[in-house]
């Protein structure tokens, strides 16, 4: 039944009769969408209702009431104040911060190492290129869990005990219980050094901007690097000495069973950071290599023709273009690294999964709630990382003129 049928026969044009409400596409679309939403909501409600009903009938505790209850267990490393009188909620945060710490350290080290290896693989030096190639092929082809076990059980566990510790320079100590480094203790007047340091950084940025403008205007170059280094290091250094070195050090000392004082770095944390960053670096290296190789050869030749040195060609021409290829897959690697950090549980590092999805789940017995929160946490971490990397990608994207 279409409108054309109304035009049959002689006579004045009759406006097409309005189709009934049921046959109007907008109405139907709206109905379907509403039905879909209602269906989805009802579906989720049914699942949630079913779960809570089943839990109640099996007499399994449910709800988030455990959040404020005393946890009663200890965590070996915590960035926030936590002890066995704290609540399960605080245990959640302690675990979460431990995971974020590993992820942040891992991302930094993996990126640095990955870029070095990736560029190294393109080196014209046969030995360097092959060594980097061997690194990539070995590390990315071995299971990560195996590598973590290697670092933890095979390397770190073979260090000597506390009483036979390896003494490192500058008062640091290494043994099977971890790495202990001296902790700085600021004394009176140390704030002045910090202020000088901050001023040095601000001044460096000023110098950099001025030098850039001058170069654009006159073509003359200014030794920015050396000036910056002098401002950032020498200025606070001079203040430090002038004030009579107002910084003490607390050295780790063997007392009883363990070293006390200083900053202890757990072997679990070291193994996890080393394992995660060396593993992820092998993937990043390949991404970097692909990114650089993806820059057309003509770009280099053009840069050479302009008389740029090979270092400058890399820094000013190749890397900025390569970054556009590198960033999106790099994001995936960062996300992988954050998620892989949950393997920590195998080597005793108190990460989020170990503390919350392990101990808390077990002591409360509330699997549904704990797993839900865990998924929510990893989703949030991943989405935030993605959002940042997308912003960064947009920032460095090719601006067409």
């Amino acid at each position: 039944m279409t409108a054309t049928t109304n035009r049959q026969g002689p006579g004045p044009l009759v406006p097409p009769a309005k189709p009934s409400l049921l046959y109007r596409p907008e109405f139907r679309q709206a109905v379907y969408q509403i039905l879909l939403v209602v269906g989805l909501v009802a579906g989720f409600w049914a699942i949630a209702h079913n779960v809570s009903e089943n839990l109640a009938r099996q007499n399994i505790a449910s709800g988030f009431g455990f959040w404020n209850r005393t946890s009663g267990f200890d965590i070996s490393q915590s960035l926030i104040t936590y002890n066995n009188q704290s609540t399960y909620g605080q245990a959640f945060w302690a675990g979460l911060f431990n995971t974020l710490l590993v992820a942040a350290l891992g991302v930094v080290f993996a990126t640095l190492l990955g870029f070095i290896i990736g560029i190294g693989r393109l080196s014209s030096n046969w030995l360097i290129a092959r060594l980097c190639g061997a690194y990539v092929e070995t590390l990315r082809n071995l299971p990560l869990l195996l590598q973590l076990f290697f670092w933890y059980f095979a390397v770190l566990k073979n260090l000597p005990g506390p009483r036979q510790s390896i003494v490192l320079p500058a008062g640091a100590t290494l043994n099977v219980r971890g790495l202990y480094i001296p902790a700085p203790v600021p004394e009176q007047g140390f704030n002045a050094v910090l202020i000088a340091f901050a001023m040095g950084i601000v001044a460096s940025i000023g110098v950099y901007m001025w030098a850039r403008r001058r170069q654009l205007a006159t073509g003359e170059r200014f030794p920015v690097l050396w000036t910056t280094l002098a401002l950032i290091l020498l200025l606070p250094g001079a203040v430090y000495i002038a004030l009579g070195q107002p910084l003490g050090w607390e050295y780790p000392v063997l007392r009883g069973f363990n070293f006390q004082g200083g900053i202890p770095i757990q072997p679990e944390l070291m193994a996890l950071v080393v394992g995660l960053s060396t593993y992820t670096a092998s993937f990043i290296a390949e991404i970097v290599r692909a990114g650089i190789a993806g820059v057309p050869r003509g770009q280099r030749e053009a840069a050479n023709a302009l008389g740029l040195s090979s270092g400058l060609t890399m820094r000013l021409v190749v890397i900025p273009q390569a970054l556009r290829i590198i960033i999106p897959p790099l994001t995936s690697q960062y996300l992988n690294l954050a998620k892989n950090s949950s393997l920590a549980v195998a080597i005793g590092y108190p990460d989020f999964v170990s503390v919350f999805t392990g101990t808390v789940l077990n002591q409360t017995g509330q699997a549904v709630e704990v797993i839900l929160l865990t998924m929510l946490v990893f989703l949030t971490i991943s989405l935030i990382t993605s959002a940042f990397m997308n912003w960064f990608n947009k920032h460095i994207a090719l601006v067409e003129r």
Partner: protein, 345 residues
Amino acid sequence: MEKGNFMKRATKLFATAAAVALGTAGMASAQTLDKVKKQGTLSCGVNVGLAGFSAPDDKGNWTGLDVDYCRAIAAAVLGDATKVRFVPTTAKERFTALQSGEIDVLNRNTTWTLGRDSSLGLSFVGTNYYDGQGLMVKKSLGVKSATELGGATVCVQTGTTTELNLADYFRLNKLEYKPVVFEKADEILQAYQAGRCDVYTTDASGLYAQRLQMQQPDEHIVLPEIISKEPLGPSVRQGDSQWFTIVRWVHFALLNAEEAGITKANVDQMTNSTNPDIRRILGKEGEFGKGIGLSADWAYQAIKQVGNYGEIFEKNVGSGSRINIARGQNSLWTKGGLQYAPPIR
């Protein structure tokens, strides 16, 4: 026309989906006994590996005290001690495995506490091993008592009562310590031997069993302090009182058998005994098997195929094993221990 059809189909589909989602609500309380009989096997949750309680031997057969309890239940229910499907579980997985119905009974050196009895939807049926938490250290440390452990690093397993007792003990005694938490017992063993921790803590029976796995067992001592009560026993899902009664009375039957002197070897002669206690245990008098939904010879089968409590104990953790733990608290009440079973009558 077509759209109308689609609508109908969609409605139907949704209705079915909702029915499935809601319908499962009625399923979980199905009778465990019927399920076990229908399947012909008992799914039994055991430890992934703890010598004496449940560990595969060099031929791959499961052995241990908890394992024998699984076999005894299978013998009583199905008449065949070999009809067991062993499901190895870690401390972390065990309760979920029972709650979800993956296993019918959990026999995994699990401590009976009020918290677990009340909020995990499971019920402990009894205590098949009275244990307590101990602390093990290297002899070379020269430590003689737990009170000297201030500042020590302690290796412990996640998701256990051990983890909580440890925190309580050190707090009450105003001692500092650093926990290192692992998921599996063999990871702890490795870390402890490498010197990552000064102390390894778990149930005393576990410490003795684990010490045997070490390179130099003689260089480690278990400190005299027992810092907690750890009654270990089987547990079942709540809401199935028939199954609860069966598992509980299999345990009691094994104890009563020992008390009455019925052993694996003499059980056939004992069926001719005139002692009414023995006749009732072995199903010659009374209708106790029928009362709990089993055959009359349920206890006979368990004793014949697995042995009484004392035999199970000595074979797996006692004098017949390498662990060689004294009966102690686990002796029958008649011999000064805590093992006591209500009478079968």
